[in-house]
Amino acid sequence: MDIKVRVWRQASPSAAGKMVTYDVKGISPDASFLEMIDVLNETLILSGDDPIAFDHDCREGICGMCSMVINGVAHGPEKATTTCQLHMRKFSDGDVIDVEPWRAAAFPVIKDLVVDRTAFDKIIQAGGYITAPTGTAPDAHATPVPKKDADAAFEAATCIGCGACVAACPNGSSMLFTAAKIAHLGLMPQGQPERDSRVIDMLQAQDDAGFGGCTNAGECTTVCPKGIPLSLIGRLNSDYRKAVSKR
């Protein structure tokens, strides 16, 4: 198939960027979206142009590195799918496809489609863990965990930290990301001792990083490649209210 892509090109963090149009010819519908960009880059290199910089790594939808807003939708048109798992068969011959980076003050552009997501690590640093230094653990069966809770914790823990929620949020809020970690750890008995301080500290870190506030717009969950549900934000709010009232 033959398509056109309009891609955000920005040489450096401080440079001004713009959308640039490229023709991509003869792409197999079985190619992934990133493989299409690979093919385009090969031709750009050989014609002496600068290839498009983009983040990617595992290309199987789990590392969370790939990050493209495709036609205004984070990770593109297919639900519950990362950019790397999106295939060209979801597009039609002759399409013009817009490709942009995540846009958020907390995720500054480094180059082209590559953004800096260190802010997410900062949120985790603030409390997204259970303190369990190596060697201190009791036997794994010492504390049974109801299957229901373990399953729910797992669902929340499948977040890949890609940042699509922030990219899609009209407020640029990272609430779904933070809520997923709060829920994962808060649902496990091991996570109870730090439950209150965790929610307060992580929310503070999120505000400090320059993310916007949540208005429950719900765009985040619709683009989330792992389908993290919006209800986790309610859980976070509830945890936060309880934690603050105990202070």
């Binding site: 942009e100 407020n171 640029g172 717009a217 209800s231 309610g234 709010n237």
Partner: protein
């Protein structure tokens, strides 16, 4: 947002319930309007309690707008560079129209007070009975006023549909069943409220009341 919004929702219901009095009779409606001013007497002088309510409402509206403005400013700061391809709305339409919906509602409320409370833009004028203001304000030949009113009330409905559900979420609702319940309640309440508010002007314009 959630707490101030909740106060405003309570007010809207009380206000709507009062409006329906007009179906009982014009004198009942006028009597109700007077009763509002007599509430709290003789503990408080005439109309004081109403003014307390009005001040309370203003504070709630102020807080609501202040919070909305703060969130909007934060949102703008959080995304300094806009998307070239306008983001598609994936979630709910109501959720994405809260801000402009809110602005429209504020403008409507100002007009609404000038019209039916103060009578400044009402053909019956400020000295007429409340029922006269309603009946002349929505008279059949002023159909355009009714249409404007209808649109504004529908905007309020949209605002509430997301607002009520969102408030429940902000206050900590978190289960899947609760999620469904909250959505249903938000929708039902919004529809009931819109129906209550629209019944009066439509009834007047179509001549059912008058």
């Amino acid at each position: 947002m959630a707490v101030s919004g909740a106060l405003l929702v309570f007010f809207l219901f009380a206000h709507a319930a009062g409006n329906l009095k007009i179906f009982v009779g014009e004198s009942d409606f006028n009597h109700y309007a007077e009763w509002l001013r007599e509430l709290g007497t003789p503990l408080l002088p005439h109309a004081w309690f109403l003014w307390i309510q009005r001040v309370g409402l203003l504070v709630a509206i102020g807080l609501h707008i202040w919070a909305a403005a703060a969130l909007t400013i934060r949102a703008k700061k959080a995304r300094p560079v806009k998307y070239a391809h306008r983001p598609k709305i994936q979630g709910s339409y109501a959720a994405r129209t809260m801000r402009w919906g809110g602005v429209i509602i504020v403008l409507f409320v100002i007009w609404h007070i000038l019209d039916l409370t103060l009578g400044k833009v009402n053909p019956a004028g400020g000295d007429a009975d409340p029922s006269a203001r309603v009946i002349e304000g929505f008279a059949p030949d002023r159909w355009y006023v009714t249409i404007f009113y209808v649109l504004a009330v529908v905007a309020v409905g949209f605002h509430l549909r997301h607002g009520i559900w969102s408030a429940v979420r902000t206050l900590g609702q978190q289960t899947t069943a609760g999620e469904r319940r909250a959505k249903t309640i938000a929708l039902v309440l919004s529809v009931i409220l819109v129906a209550m508010y629209l019944s009066v002007p439509i009834a007047v314009t179509t001549g059912l009341v008058g």
